[in-house]
Amino acid sequence: MSETHDATREYTVTFAVLLILLGVTVGVSYLNLGWFNAFIAVGIAATKMTLIAMFFMHARSARRMTLVVVFAGLFWLGILFTLGLSDYLTRWSLPSPDVWTGQPRP
Protein backbone atom coordinates (compact mmCIF):
# COMPACT_ATOMS: atom_id res chain seq x y z
CA MET A 1 0.00 0.00 0.00
CA SER A 2 3.00 2.31 0.30
CA GLU A 3 2.78 2.93 -3.43
CA THR A 4 -0.75 4.32 -3.00
CA HIS A 5 0.34 6.70 -0.26
CA ASP A 6 3.19 8.00 -2.39
CA ALA A 7 0.89 8.76 -5.30
CA THR A 8 -1.57 10.60 -3.07
CA ARG A 9 1.24 12.79 -1.78
CA GLU A 10 2.55 13.33 -5.29
CA TYR A 11 -0.92 14.41 -6.51
CA THR A 12 -1.39 16.72 -3.54
CA VAL A 13 1.94 18.45 -4.13
CA THR A 14 1.20 18.77 -7.87
CA PHE A 15 -2.22 20.22 -7.07
CA ALA A 16 -0.73 22.75 -4.63
CA VAL A 17 1.90 23.85 -7.16
CA LEU A 18 -0.80 24.26 -9.82
CA LEU A 19 -2.81 26.53 -7.50
CA ILE A 20 0.30 28.60 -6.70
CA LEU A 21 1.01 28.99 -10.43
CA LEU A 22 -2.59 30.12 -10.93
CA GLY A 23 -2.02 32.83 -8.32
CA VAL A 24 1.26 33.83 -9.98
CA THR A 25 -0.32 34.11 -13.43
CA VAL A 26 -3.10 36.36 -12.09
CA GLY A 27 -0.61 38.48 -10.13
CA VAL A 28 1.84 38.94 -12.99
CA SER A 29 -0.94 40.06 -15.32
CA TYR A 30 -1.35 43.22 -13.19
CA LEU A 31 2.28 44.21 -13.81
CA ASN A 32 3.05 46.21 -16.91
CA LEU A 33 5.78 44.28 -18.70
CA GLY A 34 4.78 45.01 -22.29
CA TRP A 35 4.90 42.05 -24.65
CA PHE A 36 6.65 40.06 -21.94
CA ASN A 37 3.26 39.67 -20.17
CA ALA A 38 1.95 37.39 -22.91
CA PHE A 39 5.22 35.47 -22.89
CA ILE A 40 4.97 34.84 -19.13
CA ALA A 41 1.25 33.98 -19.29
CA VAL A 42 1.80 31.33 -21.96
CA GLY A 43 4.97 30.15 -20.23
CA ILE A 44 3.11 29.55 -16.94
CA ALA A 45 0.26 27.84 -18.79
CA ALA A 46 2.82 25.57 -20.51
CA THR A 47 4.39 24.78 -17.13
CA LYS A 48 0.97 23.87 -15.71
CA MET A 49 0.31 21.72 -18.78
CA THR A 50 3.60 19.89 -18.24
CA LEU A 51 2.81 19.26 -14.56
CA ILE A 52 -0.69 17.95 -15.33
CA ALA A 53 0.62 15.73 -18.14
CA MET A 54 3.56 14.38 -16.15
CA PHE A 55 1.84 13.64 -12.85
CA PHE A 56 -1.96 13.51 -13.32
CA MET A 57 -1.77 11.92 -16.79
CA HIS A 58 1.22 9.71 -15.93
CA ALA A 59 3.26 10.73 -18.96
CA ARG A 60 6.26 10.48 -16.64
CA SER A 61 5.97 6.71 -16.49
CA ALA A 62 4.58 6.20 -20.00
CA ARG A 63 6.21 3.85 -22.49
CA ARG A 64 8.37 5.30 -25.25
CA MET A 65 5.84 4.51 -27.94
CA THR A 66 3.25 6.58 -26.08
CA LEU A 67 5.75 9.41 -25.61
CA VAL A 68 6.36 9.44 -29.36
CA VAL A 69 2.64 10.16 -29.83
CA VAL A 70 2.68 12.83 -27.10
CA PHE A 71 5.61 14.66 -28.68
CA ALA A 72 4.21 14.19 -32.18
CA GLY A 73 1.12 16.07 -31.00
CA LEU A 74 3.25 18.91 -29.65
CA PHE A 75 5.38 18.88 -32.80
CA TRP A 76 2.33 19.20 -35.04
CA LEU A 77 1.08 22.09 -32.92
CA GLY A 78 4.52 23.62 -33.43
CA ILE A 79 4.15 23.27 -37.20
CA LEU A 80 0.72 24.89 -37.03
CA PHE A 81 2.05 27.90 -35.14
CA THR A 82 5.47 28.39 -36.75
CA LEU A 83 4.37 28.03 -40.36
CA GLY A 84 1.19 29.99 -39.70
CA LEU A 85 2.94 32.84 -37.90
CA SER A 86 5.76 32.91 -40.43
CA ASP A 87 3.06 34.10 -42.81
CA TYR A 88 1.17 36.57 -40.60
CA LEU A 89 4.23 38.04 -38.88
CA THR A 90 5.86 38.89 -42.20
CA ARG A 91 2.84 40.74 -43.64
CA TRP A 92 1.46 44.22 -43.12
CA SER A 93 -1.13 44.33 -40.39
CA LEU A 94 -4.61 43.27 -41.40
CA PRO A 95 -6.71 46.25 -42.52
CA SER A 96 -10.11 46.52 -40.87
CA PRO A 97 -12.96 45.77 -43.27
CA ASP A 98 -14.62 48.95 -44.62
CA VAL A 99 -17.89 48.20 -42.87
CA TRP A 100 -16.09 48.33 -39.52
CA THR A 101 -14.50 51.74 -39.97
CA GLY A 102 -17.21 53.31 -42.09
CA GLN A 103 -14.54 54.80 -44.34
CA PRO A 104 -13.33 53.55 -47.69
CA ARG A 105 -9.79 52.22 -47.65
CA PRO A 106 -7.16 54.48 -49.22
Binding site: M1, E3, T4, A7, T8, Y11, T12, T14, F15, L18, L19, L22, T25, V26, S29, Y30, L31, N32, L33, N37, A41, V42, I44, A45, K48, M49, I52, A53, F55, F56, M57, H58, A62, R63, M65, T66, V69, V70, A72, G73, L74, W76, L77, L80, F81, G84, L85, Y88, L89, S93, L94, S96, W100
Partner: protein, 213 residues
Amino acid sequence: MRRIVEEQFEDVHQQRDAATMGMWLFIATEALFFGGLLFAYAVYRGAYYRAFSEASEEMSIVLGGVNTAVLLCSSFSMAMAVQSAKSSRGGRLVFFLALTAVIGAVFLAIKFTEYYEHYQHHLVPGTHFQFSGPHAKQVELFMVFYFVLTGMHAVHMIVGLGMLITLVILARRGRFLGEDYNTVEFGGLYWHFVDIVWVFLFPLLYLVDRSGQ
Protein backbone atom coordinates in the same frame (compact mmCIF):
# COMPACT_ATOMS: atom_id res chain seq x y z
CA MET B 1 -16.90 -12.98 -14.28
CA ARG B 2 -16.40 -10.45 -17.03
CA ARG B 3 -13.36 -10.96 -19.20
CA ILE B 4 -10.90 -8.08 -18.75
CA VAL B 5 -8.52 -8.80 -21.63
CA GLU B 6 -10.04 -8.66 -25.11
CA GLU B 7 -9.16 -11.60 -27.32
CA GLN B 8 -6.82 -9.73 -29.72
CA PHE B 9 -4.39 -8.99 -26.86
CA GLU B 10 -1.79 -11.24 -25.27
CA ASP B 11 -2.33 -9.92 -21.76
CA VAL B 12 -3.67 -6.98 -19.81
CA HIS B 13 -0.42 -5.00 -20.09
CA GLN B 14 -0.33 -5.17 -23.87
CA GLN B 15 -3.95 -4.11 -23.95
CA ARG B 16 -3.25 -1.19 -21.63
CA ASP B 17 -0.23 -0.03 -23.69
CA ALA B 18 -2.18 -0.13 -26.94
CA ALA B 19 -5.16 1.70 -25.47
CA THR B 20 -2.98 4.31 -23.74
CA MET B 21 -1.29 5.15 -27.02
CA GLY B 22 -4.65 5.38 -28.77
CA MET B 23 -5.98 7.72 -26.12
CA TRP B 24 -2.97 10.02 -26.44
CA LEU B 25 -3.39 10.00 -30.21
CA PHE B 26 -6.97 11.17 -29.73
CA ILE B 27 -5.74 13.88 -27.35
CA ALA B 28 -3.18 15.00 -29.96
CA THR B 29 -5.96 15.52 -32.52
CA GLU B 30 -7.97 17.42 -29.92
CA ALA B 31 -4.94 19.62 -29.22
CA LEU B 32 -4.74 20.45 -32.93
CA PHE B 33 -8.45 21.28 -32.98
CA PHE B 34 -8.06 23.83 -30.18
CA GLY B 35 -4.66 24.82 -31.62
CA GLY B 36 -6.30 26.05 -34.82
CA LEU B 37 -8.71 28.24 -32.86
CA LEU B 38 -5.92 29.55 -30.64
CA PHE B 39 -3.78 30.33 -33.67
CA ALA B 40 -6.57 32.42 -35.20
CA TYR B 41 -6.96 34.14 -31.82
CA ALA B 42 -3.22 34.90 -31.72
CA VAL B 43 -3.26 36.48 -35.19
CA TYR B 44 -6.16 38.80 -34.36
CA ARG B 45 -4.82 39.62 -30.94
CA GLY B 46 -1.64 40.78 -32.67
CA ALA B 47 -3.65 42.83 -35.16
CA TYR B 48 -6.12 44.40 -32.67
CA TYR B 49 -4.19 44.35 -29.43
CA ARG B 50 -5.86 47.44 -27.87
CA ALA B 51 -9.36 46.18 -28.56
CA PHE B 52 -8.57 42.70 -27.24
CA SER B 53 -7.14 44.20 -24.08
CA GLU B 54 -10.23 46.42 -23.63
CA ALA B 55 -12.52 43.46 -24.23
CA SER B 56 -10.61 41.30 -21.78
CA GLU B 57 -11.26 43.86 -19.03
CA GLU B 58 -14.96 43.07 -19.37
CA MET B 59 -14.25 39.57 -18.04
CA SER B 60 -14.63 38.88 -14.35
CA ILE B 61 -11.21 37.87 -13.08
CA VAL B 62 -12.78 36.54 -9.87
CA LEU B 63 -15.21 34.20 -11.61
CA GLY B 64 -12.56 33.12 -14.13
CA GLY B 65 -9.89 32.59 -11.48
CA VAL B 66 -12.23 30.69 -9.16
CA ASN B 67 -13.31 28.55 -12.09
CA THR B 68 -9.69 27.71 -12.90
CA ALA B 69 -9.16 26.62 -9.31
CA VAL B 70 -12.41 24.62 -9.44
CA LEU B 71 -11.24 22.78 -12.54
CA LEU B 72 -7.83 22.06 -11.00
CA CYS B 73 -9.67 20.59 -7.98
CA SER B 74 -11.66 18.32 -10.28
CA SER B 75 -8.44 17.14 -11.94
CA PHE B 76 -6.97 16.34 -8.55
CA SER B 77 -10.10 14.41 -7.62
CA MET B 78 -9.96 12.52 -10.94
CA ALA B 79 -6.32 11.56 -10.31
CA MET B 80 -7.42 10.23 -6.90
CA ALA B 81 -10.20 8.23 -8.57
CA VAL B 82 -7.68 6.52 -10.87
CA GLN B 83 -5.50 5.83 -7.85
CA SER B 84 -8.46 4.27 -6.01
CA ALA B 85 -9.33 2.06 -8.97
CA LYS B 86 -5.73 0.87 -9.25
CA SER B 87 -5.59 -0.04 -5.57
CA SER B 88 -8.99 -1.82 -5.76
CA ARG B 89 -10.85 0.45 -3.38
CA GLY B 90 -14.35 0.51 -4.83
CA GLY B 91 -15.98 2.83 -2.31
CA ARG B 92 -13.31 5.48 -2.72
CA LEU B 93 -13.46 5.11 -6.50
CA VAL B 94 -17.20 5.86 -6.60
CA PHE B 95 -16.71 8.76 -4.18
CA PHE B 96 -13.95 10.45 -6.21
CA LEU B 97 -15.67 9.89 -9.56
CA ALA B 98 -18.87 11.43 -8.20
CA LEU B 99 -16.88 14.28 -6.61
CA THR B 100 -15.17 14.98 -9.94
CA ALA B 101 -18.55 15.14 -11.66
CA VAL B 102 -19.98 17.49 -9.02
CA ILE B 103 -16.97 19.83 -9.25
CA GLY B 104 -17.24 19.74 -13.05
CA ALA B 105 -20.91 20.74 -12.75
CA VAL B 106 -19.92 23.64 -10.48
CA PHE B 107 -17.50 24.81 -13.18
CA LEU B 108 -20.27 24.78 -15.78
CA ALA B 109 -22.65 26.59 -13.44
CA ILE B 110 -20.12 29.39 -12.91
CA LYS B 111 -19.37 29.48 -16.64
CA PHE B 112 -23.02 29.86 -17.59
CA THR B 113 -23.46 32.54 -14.90
CA GLU B 114 -20.71 34.44 -16.72
CA TYR B 115 -22.48 33.92 -20.05
CA TYR B 116 -25.64 35.38 -18.53
CA GLU B 117 -23.69 38.43 -17.33
CA HIS B 118 -22.21 38.93 -20.79
CA TYR B 119 -25.71 38.76 -22.22
CA GLN B 120 -26.93 41.39 -19.75
CA HIS B 121 -23.97 43.62 -20.64
CA HIS B 122 -24.77 43.32 -24.36
CA LEU B 123 -21.50 41.51 -25.06
CA VAL B 124 -22.96 38.59 -27.02
CA PRO B 125 -21.99 39.10 -30.69
CA GLY B 126 -24.88 39.84 -33.01
CA THR B 127 -27.62 42.46 -33.22
CA HIS B 128 -27.85 42.64 -29.43
CA PHE B 129 -24.15 43.64 -29.17
CA GLN B 130 -23.31 47.08 -27.79
CA PHE B 131 -19.94 48.49 -26.85
CA SER B 132 -18.97 52.13 -26.58
CA GLY B 133 -15.61 53.19 -27.92
CA PRO B 134 -13.73 53.24 -31.19
CA HIS B 135 -12.95 49.51 -31.17
CA ALA B 136 -16.49 48.15 -30.86
CA LYS B 137 -16.24 45.87 -33.89
CA GLN B 138 -12.89 44.44 -32.83
CA VAL B 139 -14.24 43.90 -29.32
CA GLU B 140 -17.11 42.00 -30.90
CA LEU B 141 -14.54 39.84 -32.71
CA PHE B 142 -12.86 39.11 -29.39
CA MET B 143 -16.24 38.05 -27.99
CA VAL B 144 -16.69 35.69 -30.95
CA PHE B 145 -13.38 34.03 -30.05
CA TYR B 146 -14.39 34.04 -26.40
CA PHE B 147 -17.69 32.29 -27.00
CA VAL B 148 -16.34 29.79 -29.54
CA LEU B 149 -13.33 28.84 -27.38
CA THR B 150 -15.13 28.66 -24.02
CA GLY B 151 -18.20 27.18 -25.71
CA MET B 152 -16.20 24.34 -27.29
CA HIS B 153 -14.51 23.85 -23.94
CA ALA B 154 -17.91 23.69 -22.21
CA VAL B 155 -19.09 21.10 -24.77
CA HIS B 156 -16.06 19.00 -23.85
CA MET B 157 -16.94 19.41 -20.18
CA ILE B 158 -20.51 18.24 -20.81
CA VAL B 159 -19.20 15.18 -22.69
CA GLY B 160 -16.86 14.59 -19.74
CA LEU B 161 -19.78 14.80 -17.30
CA GLY B 162 -21.69 12.18 -19.29
CA MET B 163 -18.58 10.00 -19.21
CA LEU B 164 -18.18 10.45 -15.44
CA ILE B 165 -21.81 9.59 -14.74
CA THR B 166 -21.41 6.41 -16.81
CA LEU B 167 -18.23 5.57 -14.90
CA VAL B 168 -19.99 6.12 -11.55
CA ILE B 169 -22.84 3.78 -12.54
CA LEU B 170 -20.43 1.06 -13.69
CA ALA B 171 -18.13 1.54 -10.69
CA ARG B 172 -21.11 1.05 -8.36
CA ARG B 173 -21.57 -2.34 -9.99
CA GLY B 174 -18.06 -3.26 -8.94
CA ARG B 175 -16.20 -2.58 -12.17
CA PHE B 176 -12.72 -1.05 -12.74
CA LEU B 177 -10.94 -2.53 -9.74
CA GLY B 178 -7.33 -3.68 -9.85
CA GLU B 179 -6.11 -4.65 -13.32
CA ASP B 180 -9.44 -3.49 -14.76
CA TYR B 181 -8.72 0.20 -14.06
CA ASN B 182 -7.94 1.12 -17.71
CA THR B 183 -11.29 2.72 -18.44
CA VAL B 184 -11.01 5.06 -15.46
CA GLU B 185 -7.43 5.92 -16.43
CA PHE B 186 -8.51 6.91 -19.97
CA GLY B 187 -11.47 8.85 -18.67
CA GLY B 188 -8.93 10.64 -16.50
CA LEU B 189 -6.68 11.39 -19.50
CA TYR B 190 -9.62 13.04 -21.26
CA TRP B 191 -10.65 15.02 -18.18
CA HIS B 192 -7.10 16.28 -17.56
CA PHE B 193 -6.79 17.29 -21.20
CA VAL B 194 -9.94 19.41 -20.94
CA ASP B 195 -8.40 20.95 -17.82
CA ILE B 196 -5.23 21.78 -19.76
CA VAL B 197 -7.27 23.54 -22.45
CA TRP B 198 -8.80 25.78 -19.78
CA VAL B 199 -5.37 26.44 -18.27
CA PHE B 200 -4.50 28.11 -21.59
CA LEU B 201 -7.86 29.79 -22.15
CA PHE B 202 -7.89 31.54 -18.78
CA PRO B 203 -4.81 33.77 -19.23
CA LEU B 204 -5.51 34.28 -22.94
CA LEU B 205 -9.09 35.49 -22.48
CA TYR B 206 -9.17 36.99 -18.98
CA LEU B 207 -5.68 38.40 -18.49
CA VAL B 208 -4.75 40.04 -21.80
CA ASP B 209 -3.63 43.30 -20.22
CA ARG B 210 -4.63 44.00 -16.63
CA SER B 211 -1.91 46.52 -15.86
CA GLY B 212 -4.24 49.24 -17.06
CA GLN B 213 -1.80 51.43 -18.96
